[in-house]
């Protein structure tokens, strides 16, 4: 006996997702809708979006289209920046983020560990990745590691503060969330200038992996909270996660929802010999 439960409508809030890196600020602005409404709102335009630096200098971020706002911007490492968005009919939202120190990748080593035949058409290859960074930097709390190419890869947790957080996976690329079907996790290397992880790629029989492109971002504890909440939210929506309280996407936006993050990124590509 399932009965719909009517819920009272909520006053809409602004939602913004923004990323600041060493060269730009990307912002997407939307709004919340009531659960009763059948249609969602995509990005909204004509929002006054500004960023304020540590020196008090305020810069407006132009609206591109469909809720996207973008500006070329060169923030300083370790400094706090304040992002605001305002539009008539909504409370002004505000969020802060700090740009973490830069990350420099020196080298990437890849070693084929194993392969298994998934079926008559596909083979899964397991690789060990070792990324050597230029130097150890105690100011960097976390690294996020993503595979840009190929897009689908299995990754494990890479946390650099001496504490291993189980099950955290970098989520910048939504397709990276999977578990190794053999139940094995590759243990991260806690040497802070070196990032080691395991990855697997599924290829058609007869193909082989020709190149990889890996992206590493310096990150912080708040980005980790956000990434973890996104992983949990997806699992919760899929019915895979049993939790006590509902899972909410982590937000650092006052008077609204969303997330403003600061990261610095470096990428490295490597050809893989057959």
């Amino acid at each position: 006996m399932v009965i719909d439960v009517p819920r009272p409508p909520k006053v809409p809030e602004l939602v913004l997702f923004a990323t600041m890196d060493q060269r730009k600020v990307d912002v997407f602005v939307t709004e919340t809708t009531s659960p009763q409404e059948p249609d969602l709102v995509d990005g909204i335009d004509d929002v006054i979006v500004k960023i304020e630096g540590p020196d008090g200098n305020i810069v407006g971020i132009p609206n591109i289209q469909d809720g996207y706002y973008y500006i070329t911007f060169f923030p300083e490492s370790g400094k706090q920046y304040i992002l605001t968005a305002e539009k008539t009919g909504f409370k002004t939202v505000r969020s802060t983020a700090v740009l973490p120190p830069p990350v420099d990748i020196l080298s990437l080593e890849i070693e084929l560990l194993d392969s298994i035949r998934l079926d008559s058409q596909r083979v899964r290859f397991f690789y060990q990745f070792d990324i050597q960074l230029e130097e150890q930097n105690d100011e960097i709390e976390f690294y996020e590691v993503n595979s840009i190419f190929p897009a689908k890869v299995l990754l494990d947790s890479i946390i650099r503060d001496g504490v291993r957080y189980p099950d955290i996976l970098p989520v910048q690329n939504a397709n990276t969330i999977e578990l190794d079907d053999r139940g094995n996790f590759f243990v991260s290397n806690i040497d802070s200038s070196r990032i080691s992880f395991g990855g697997a790629f599924d290829l058609a029989k007869g193909e082989y992996l020709k190149k990889v492109q890996i992206e590493v971002k310096s990150s912080n504890a708040e980005n980790y909270e956000y990434a973890n909440s996104l992983v949990n939210l997806r699992s919760y929506n899929d019915g895979e996660l049993i939790t006590v309280n509902p899972v909410e996407l982590y937000s650092n936006v006052e008077n609204g929802k969303g997330f403003f993050s600061g990261v610095q990124t470096d990428t490295i590509s490597k050809r893989i010999p057959r």
Binding site: I3, V5, F28, P35, L40, R234, T243, N245, K257
Partner: protein
Amino acid sequence: MRPTHLFILLWSLFATASFAQDKFTLSGVLTDGENGETLIGATVYVAEIGEGTTTNEYGFYSISLPANQPFQVEFSYIGFQNSTREINLSADQKMDIGLGEGLELQEVVVKANSYQEQLRSTEMSVEQISTKEVKTLPSVLGETDILKVIQLKPGIPSGGEGTTGLYVRGGGQDQNLIVLDEAVVYNPNHLFGFFSTFNTDAVKDLKLYKGGFPPQYGGRLSSVIDVKLKEGNNKRFSGAGGLGIISSRLTLEGPIEKDKSSFIVSGRRTYFDLITRQVNKANEGVEDNQPIPDYYFYDLNTKINFKLGEKDHLYLSGYFGRDQFGFDNENFNFGFNWGNVTSTARWNHQFNPKLFSNTTVTFSDYRYKISNEIVGFSFNLDSKIRDVNLKTDFYQNLNSKNTLRYGASVTYHEFTVGRLKAGSDDGEISFSGGNEYDGMEYGVYISDDWEASSRLKINGGLRLSGFSNDGTFYYGLEPRVAANYKVTNSFSLKGSYARMNQYVHLVSNSGLSLPTDVWYPSTKLVEPQTSDQVAIGGSSLFKLFGTELFLTNEYFYKLLDKQIDFIDGAELFANDELEQEFVFGDGYAYGGEISVEKRTGDLTGWIGYTYSKIRRGNFFGPKGDVMEGRYFAPRYDRRHDISVVGMYKINERFRAGATWVYGSGDLSWLPSGRFTFQDVGGADFQAVVPSYGDRNTFRLPAFHRLDLNLIIKLGLKKKRENPNRRWESDLTLSVINAYDRRNAFFIFLDVEFAEGTDNEGNLIELPTGVTAKQVSLFPILPALTYNFKF
């Protein structure tokens, strides 16, 4: 305390034997004259001097009376005929009394002194129910349930429809100490909370304390539910049972040696699985057939007791219960079972007419296990808690004004939390997890029931409790005090204060009382929970339109500290680092309870109303503050609770019962909005993200339900023709939810999807919205049960 009273107290405590000879002591055990069962809380009253006492949990009483003077001593207990004896003590005297049963519950005239004991007693915040009352009230699917019926009393709201989770005066469901013959029962639920583990046929008495906790009880913050099993008829062999639509039960009891030893065995089992197996068998080979999973539960209570001379009595009892849920076919095998085992060995010894002791050794075990086998792979998850407890209690009638109670207990706890074993049959894949803990819990207490004056009675005590686990040691003092001031013969005022410590905690996956909830010890990180509760109230006896009514009202305020909650997105299932998911905070609760009872006449029953408000918050955890300074209402913060209970004897053959309950809806934390997720890093798809406001701000619709039953006595003509005929039977027709109210069992969120395409043009399902759906449990539900006894 005035100096005069303090002096009198000290003087009476150190009184010499020569002074005590102005009085002698009458002591003994009160029993049911028909079957020898001890009577708990029976009244022993001497009207001439206005003094009295009640029997303790073992039926023992002791009263000091002036020497060499005649008195009429009246022994009474509800449902029984009073017995009056003329007593003239020239020495200490032992007198065991067997009371005869009253004709019918409603026909017994409850003498004024039965209410007088309630008006005189320092006990407050206590609810008691007899199995006779339970059997006249409506029951779900014909299964009478004493724990469900006690929830009809004010101040004891249930967790909701279909659950036996108890949330007493703002406390969580792990804050209730439930003991069966003094052994702890960790999960008192069958069938996910539809029924309790207490077989009404085997239970003699159930007493629930909501506050004013006597010092002999400790270890939980919010309530004590003390369930006593029957001892077994020591006069003659007898039995009782019932055949219902989902289960049957049978109880056999009798003397091993008449008046000296007896046994009782009581069991029940559901048989729904026998029907579903036949259905599955008949449908084998049918296309798209979905076999019905097996489910059944059973439980068994056993007890024997031996009277070893005039001063000693030995009792041995045990409980074994199990729920089994499973699914089995050639490719897939799933099993889920859980249950309790308890056993008790108890020795009563009477040192002298004034000193009685009880020494008990108990064993408790609660465990659940989930097992799953699929071709080539198996998965097993289990958790358990196991206790061994030794305790001793002394009751000492110091003099006519003071009754001392003191004792000590020690419990060894063993916890297995989330033990996981999984792997492939060939051994290539295997993983395991889980943690084991143990701990020792201690308690020592003393209390004095002091009759300060003819109007004022005070029970003051102190408990010292402690817990040790892996090098961590916690302890705490727990003062307890309760007072009763008799304003007039029909009106009294009461007040109490109690501090409680709790060293074991229930980690719950949901707001429901599920068998997968695990018990967790206090550790270095997880400190003991504490509570301080103050209660005031009054009781009065009055007449309305010529009908005698008993009114009780109480008001309480409770402070709670070190309450456990969870971080957002906490994963409790098979998590080796569970403590990282905890946060700790405080809370408070306050409210009032009123009840009016009618116990005489053809129509009996009560009306109860509870108002309460509960808050939790100010949480912090291993990763910092979660809710500093902020409070929220927990799910079970129900503002209003009403229960109306009536039992009516229509005539000799027909008896009716009805209950109507109303409660404010539970609170739920539902999304109050949603938005499109767009990760600026370039995620390939959009997702709908729910947006939540403050916790638990959505109140579900109010819960209310009317249950009815009709008992039809059978064989009356044969009984009239042969009064010695022992076989008695009845048919009980129950209708649960008589006006088909669809109350909320739980709320779930349903994600709606629409077809769309990804960037590569592949068809995918896009989530477009989230709706909240309510699941209701009971429609109108009739049941028929055949009951018998001999």
